[in-house]
């Protein structure tokens, strides 16, 4: 034992290990650069420069992700992370959302008079956590990554320091969010108790090999509660409207898409790998998906504040994505991945419009303020219309194919009831999205909210979001193919995972337990 242990300790990470966390390394380095520059530079001059550094960091992460994709897929750092088509897909979403949000924040920060140094740093560090979540295959690492992304967003939600709603948003998000993370952690602990490991593959192997203890179910349920909170799925959604209403709009654009994408990545890995031998997951996800869609859409009907409306809509969209989770892995996984990507594009775009239109102190956020926007700023109105149409799921936008794939995946799995609920909900959803569009083009404003000309950063962010939304709606094939490609790598039901060398930790634990039993 002593010698083998010594040998084991001699192994150090190889070059390939570092490649497998390259996007995270890039994001961390740029985050630290922002942090240090913020501390030494003169405040009045540093704002734009720090934003530029952060932007380079985000694009660097996109580059690193593409570079990663060239390398053969596999594990890094003793089976802590796994780089495959799946993780690269989500890395790309996270990095792209980060870049677009930073672009959209440039002028927002100036208009709101927010000191931006920490803001950019926190966004980059948050992105580190989200990227790690999508590639981690070890529950401990997932937990730490989840904490990184959550704590960064708690703080970001409170950045409008003069506004009481922003502080309220931050505090609420923090209290409820830490509670949810605790649930996740408890689930991990129970899972460890049931299977003796925290590695997703080891857990899945242990569950496949025989009788599944009730403890494992309890662990999964707790983990699902924690993750369900983070994606704002009903009945864990109560925080969403208040938090989204108070937080700065670019931050909402960020936290309604990037962390959600990352958590969906974790959920996909957890549900389709750990849970693969457990078919009873269906009814749980069925209920949560149906509840999220219904509650989100119905509550959104009566909202007058556009941010709140989109908060409820994001609950509904979490429900649509969860429909795919109840489906079969072969069609459900790519459908969920595609939906996440399309939702990221359209929602970031919609919130970019809101953050530009809101003006100083985010004063103009109600339906009445949007009345007549079509005349005053046709360009802004058209872009917002595109995003809203995509959120409805009108053909030729990304939202259409997203819904289409999700529902057809559910039909393949014979979930007719869930599909009916989903389609009915889409119809309800169309009503409140159209209300905004009608207000913009048909209503006369009672008092005109001023519209500043679209600045370059926000304009670029909007352009990227529009292009991606339309691209996904017109040529969805490539993205979908990539998503399908990653299905085989997720190794769902029946596929062989156990060819992997036993996890080092697990092996050592096993010998320890054996010793103890012999004792």
């Amino acid at each position: 034992m002593a010698t083998s242990l010594n040998d084991m300790m001699q192994t150090v990470p190889q070059w390939s290990d570092y490649i497998r966390i390259l996007p995270e390394i890039v994001l961390s380095l740029f985050g630290m650069a922002v942090m240090m520059l913020d501390a030494v530079m003169d405040e009045s001059k540093s704002q734009k420069a720090l934003g530029a550094v952060a932007l380079i960091g985000a694009f660097g992460a996109i580059g690193a992700t593409l570079y990663q994709a060239q390398y053969p897929f596999g594990y890094g750092f003793w089976e802590m992370v796994r780089v495959d088509a799946f993780s690269i897909f989500f890395h790309f979403i996270v990095a792209a959302v980060t870049a677009v949000v930073i672009l959209a924040s440039f002028e927002y920060m100036e208009v709101q008079r927010i000191r931006a140094g920490e803001y950019y740093g926190l966004i980059l560090f948050g992105a580190v956590g989200m990227s790690l979540m999508s590639s981690a295959v070890e529950l401990v690492l997932i937990f730490i990554a989840l904490e990184i992304s959550s704590i960064a967003t708690y703080i970001l939600a409170g950045f409008r320091r003069r506004s009481a709603t922003s502080s309220e948003s931050s505090l609420k998000y923090f209290l409820l969010g830490s509670f949810a993370t605790a649930f996740f952690l408890y689930g991990v602990a129970l899972m460890f108790g049931a299977t003796g490991s925290t590695s997703i593959f080891a857990i899945s192997r242990s569950l496949e090999s025989g009788n599944i203890s009730l403890l494992a179910y309890a662990g999964l349920a707790f983990m699902f509660v924690g993750l369900g909170f983070k994606v704002a799925a009903a009945p864990f959604h109560v925080w969403t409207p208040d938090v989204y209403e108070g937080a700065p709009s670019p931050v909402v654009a960020f936290m309604s898409t990037a962390p959600k994408a990352a958590v969906f990545a974790v959920l996909l890995r957890v549900i389709f790998e750990i849970n693969s031998p457990v078919p009873t997951r269906m009814w749980l996800i069925w209920i949560v998906a149906a509840l999220s869609m219904t509650i989100g859409n119905i509550a959104a009907l009566v909202q007058n504040n556009v941010k709140r409306l989109l908060a409820y809509s994001s609950i509904a969209h979490a429900g649509y994505i969860l429909v795919a989770f109840a489906a079969l892995p072969s069609s459900g996984i790519p459908a969920a991945m595609f939906y996440t990507a399309a939702y990221a594009a359209m929602n970031v775009g919609a919130f970019a419009v809101i953050s530009h239109f809101g003006g100083e102190g985010e004063r103009y956020v109600t339906m009445e303020d949007y009345a007549g926007l079509g005349k005053r700023s046709p360009l802004l109105a058209v872009t917002l219309t595109i995003f809203l149409l995509s959120l409805i799921g009108i053909p030729a936008t990304g939202g259409f194919f997203a819904k289409f794939y999700v529902f057809s995946a559910a039909l393949q799995a014979n979930l007719v009831g869930l599909v009916i609920i989903g389609v009915l909900n889409s119809a309800i959803g169309a009503y409140y999205y159209l209300r905004i569009i009608v207000a913009m083009y048909m209503h006369e404003p009672k008092q005109e909210a001023p519209v500043a000309p679209i600045p370059m950063g926000a304009g670029l962010a909007l352009a990227i979001s529009v292009v991606v939304t339309i691209y996904l709606g017109v040529i969805p094939g490539r993205v979908l193919n990539y998503a399908q490609q990653s299905v085989s790598e997720l190794t769902p039901v029946g596929q062989v995972v156990s060819l992997q060398a036993p996890h080092a930790v697990e092996a050592r634990m096993a010998t320890n337990v054996k010793k103890a039993l012999a004792h």
Partner: protein
């Protein structure tokens, strides 16, 4: 046998401390009950063979974090809370729900965990075991916690500084 007795006693102390924490109206009393909870948890860890975790529990939680709590409460001069009439519905649903939940969890843990009892000291608990896991197998999570520390530092600075200084006053319009 002595073990079981000690474990039960400290477990009960821990639960009693936690309940007292909720019942007390003065924040200082609650904080001190939390110290009791942390301390008895440390003993529980020790009895389970997790020596390092027990030591860290005392140093970090009972030592540093509780000192911060007490310090903040003292400096804020927070007085006793006023008893508010909590929601009856929450009470009616919450207390039985919590009881049923904990009993169910306990039952699952005892009856259906699917694992055998393990002799004391068999699982890694010694600092050396922890170190092997932390600095080799779990190297990446360990390094990543440093990013978490950075976020916490930035968050503390941002939330503690005055709003006027966070929001630039340069462009008055």
């Amino acid at each position: 046998m002595l073990h079981l007795v000690l474990f039960t006693v400290f477990g009960l102390i821990c639960v009693a401390g936690a309940i007292n924490l909720l019942v007390q109206t003065h924040p200082i009393n609650s904080a001190l009950s939390l110290v009791v909870v942390m301390g008895s948890l440390a003993v529980e860890y020790l009895l389970l063979g997790a020596e390092f975790v027990a030591a860290v529990q005392v140093i970090v939680y009972a030592g540093a974090i509780m000192v911060l709590f007490v310090f903040v409460i003292m400096l804020l001069n927070a007085g006793a809370e006023e008893r508010s009439k909590g929601s009856i519905v929450a009470l009616m649903l919450g207390v039985p729900g919590m009881l049923v939940g904990s009993i169910l969890t306990a039952w699952v843990l005892v009856k259906h965990s699917g694992t055998q009892p393990v002799a004391l000291g068999a699982l890694p608990g010694h600092p050396k075991d922890i170190a092997q896991l932390l600095f080799h197998d779990f190297l990446l999570p360990f390094e990543v916690t440093s990013i978490l520390v950075l976020i916490a530092i930035m968050g503390a600075v941002v939330l503690a500084s005055r709003p006027e200084s966070i929001e630039k006053t340069k462009k008055e319009n």
